[in-house]
């Protein structure tokens, strides 16, 4: 019994030392990690709303709807558009896309936040052709409104990725549905 207590004590001691060391490390890295998270979101928002000021994209939460409003200048004047996260079931994951639109409802930019599709197939939704800057698949959405968001396979004119229709459809449809909802929420775009 005494031995067990002794051994337990040693283990406790070591664990405590470890815990202490870790809390120190944690205090250093925590702000860094949070910063990274914020930066990632900020980057995505800026891709979606390239004309907005990085400090003037404001989250809005109404009943059930969550979106962002982007302004031209830091003092939140000059509304340039909205951004929201579209979610759709892809081939092997839920694909989350940050979508930005201008005030007329036309897409100004997109950025995939999360996807675990098949490498080389579904991941082509983020593929950047060599020498280009932006992913070719998402570039097709630029300046479209939700009525124009339809894959070739579904009778529209957005080229789907060969071999990855499911992922292509997931992105396209989720953006279209999201846009429709946002339009309802805002009571229509001004065009």
């Amino acid at each position: 019994m005494k031995e067990i207590l002794k051994l337990g004590g040693i283990l406790m001691l070591i664990t405590a030392i470890a815990g202490g060391a870790l809390s120190m490390v944690n205090s250093i890295t925590k702000p860094k990690i949070e910063l990274q998270k914020r930066l990632a979101l900020e980057r995505a928002l800026l891709k979606a709303l390239p004309t907005a000021d990085s400090d003037a994209i404001i989250p809005v939460e109404t009943n059930g709807q969550k979106y962002y409003k982007g302004y031209e200048s830091p003092d939140t004047t000059g509304l340039v558009g909205y951004a929201f996260v579209a979610k759709g079931k892809g081939y092997s994951s839920e694909i989350e896309t940050m979508v930005g639109i201008d005030t007329t409802g036309a897409i100004t930019g997109t950025s995939i936040l999360h996807q675990v599709e098949t490498p080389g197939l579904g991941t082509k939704i983020e593929e950047v052709t060599y020498g280009e800057e932006k992913p070719w698949f998402q570039q097709q959405f630029m300046d479209r409104t939700w009525e124009e968001l339809k894959l070739d396979k579904d009778g529209g004119d957005i080229n789907s990725i060969t071999g990855a229709t499911i992922s292509s459809r997931a992105v396209t449809s989720s953006i279209r549905e999201g846009l429709k909802e946002l339009e309802n929420e805002l009571g229509g775009f001004n065009n």
Binding site: L11, A18, N26, K32, I33, T118, P119, G120, L121, Y130
Partner: protein, 198 residues
Amino acid sequence: MSLFKEFFKGFYDENPVFRLALGLCPALAVSNSVQNAVGMGAAATFVLLCSNFIVSLIRKGVPKKIRIPIYIVVIATFVTIVDLAMAGFAPDLHKSLGIFVPLIVVNCVILGRAEAFAGKNNVLYSLFDGLGMGIGFTLALTVVGVVRELLGDGKLWGIPIMGANFEPVLLFILPPGAFLTLGLFLGLFNWIDSRMKK
């Protein structure tokens, strides 16, 4: 001379993955690209080095009966440090390695070295052993990663190098490709070994 040996044995003779068949799970899971492989290798090497250091330092004072839990605590501590640091400074890598970073805790290479080497040798030797083994582990992951990324994606370190007409063999970056590549490498090294013995 023998420090030298402790250092280099992990490269080939006692390569943890190819010869000792240890650390196979990460060798499969994160070898789909060279970047991931090197990242994981570096993380594991750091943990290996640190845990070998601490373990060989405290080995005289550790009661035999609870040495394994103590080693695990030591290892888990360094793993957490790596995990936190990676999340803070290399978020993309952290994301693509996923849960395999915390899983370094149960990586048998590390516990294995603590138990088989650091628990029995002095600090200097243990450091060299840890470093050699870590580099050996990294090398192995990288070799598998090179094959998989090259064939499966036509790239190395994310740079396309197989030419525009190459149609990548997707299977190699899919899970089956990991098993097949590693299996073929293990067979290849067995074969080389039997050849050299002859």
